[in-house]
């Protein structure tokens, strides 16, 4: 009878060992990882009116119009480049949009190829 018990014990130990072998696993830890992509929206894609205000052959300010209400609260930055020098200024867009006159920090001379750049930042 003791022989039978030994046989059964050996069989059980063998089977148990196999199960333990299958259950073995590696230890895994991880750091954090967070990522996101978001569109940078435009407050308007419509055309804006741009008018240079002149004084004695120089550009002293720029009036930007047709600004929609969606641009309200944004900061309008304007730069006039006459090919020799450039002058910039900025102003806040009213909450309801409309038009904004930006006074330039200096008054570049009017030329035949003035370039006016503008950007709306925020809100």
């Amino acid at each position: 009878m003791n022989a039978w018990r030994r046989i059964v014990a050996v069989i059980l130990l063998t089977a148990t060992g196999a199960v333990v072998g299958l259950a073995a696993s590696v230890s895994l830890t991880t750091g954090t990882l967070g990522a996101a992509t978001v569109a940078t929206p435009r407050c308007t894609t419509a055309g804006l009116s741009v008018l240079q205000n002149l004084s004695a052959g120089t550009v002293i300010s720029v009036t930007v119009g047709v600004l929609p209400a969606a641009c309200g609260g944004a900061t309008l930055q304007v730069t006039v480049n006459n090919g020799v020098t450039n002058a910039s200024g900025s102003a806040a867009v009213p909450g309801g949009g409309g038009s904004v006159t930006v006074t330039l920090g200096s008054a570049p001379a009017v030329s035949a190829s003035d370039q006016t750049d503008l950007v709306l930042v925020g809100p």
Partner: protein, 131 residues
């Protein structure tokens, strides 16, 4: 008693045959271990990006460019971790990437792009924080 001995012998013979068949293959194995764990973000609260633009006469200008992006809303759980910020076009093309380590205090990350990026082209921003 003879019946019992006979049954035991028959069983051992059968068991022995099975073992004999199983022993006919020579099989080895490389190790294989697996585990699964969750990859979590360091914070769930939203971050907000704002842009600082300036006029640049040289390339990529003449025109307005973005040289600094300020990201607010950083939580303490994301302190002192590596980050990457990418400005991209609508088609997903990268305009510039800035890397650094988040601060160890405060709620703001100031990201500087060098060279600066044309503001007209920026239509998407991607942020990843790891570690």
């Amino acid at each position: 008693m003879k019946r019992i001995v006979g049954a035991v012998l028959a069983g051992l013979m059968t068991f022995g045959l099975v073992l004999g068949m199983a022993a006919s293959l020579n099989l080895t194995s490389d190790s294989l271990g697996s585990q699964t764990t969750v990859v979590a973000a360091c914070q769930a609260a939203a971050l907000n990006a704002t842009y600082t633009s300036s006029y640049t006469a040289a390339a990529p200008g003449p025109g307005y460019t973005v040289g600094t992006v300020t990201i607010t809303g950083l939580a303490a759980t994301c302190y002192s971790k590596p980050y990457k910020v990418t400005l991209a076009t609508a088609a997903g093309a990268s305009l510039g990437e800035a890397t650094g380590t988040t601060p160890s205090s405060g709620t703001t990350i100031v990201v500087t792009f060098s060279p600066v990026v044309a503001a007209t082209s920026v239509t998407a921003i991607s942020v990843v924080i790891s570690g």
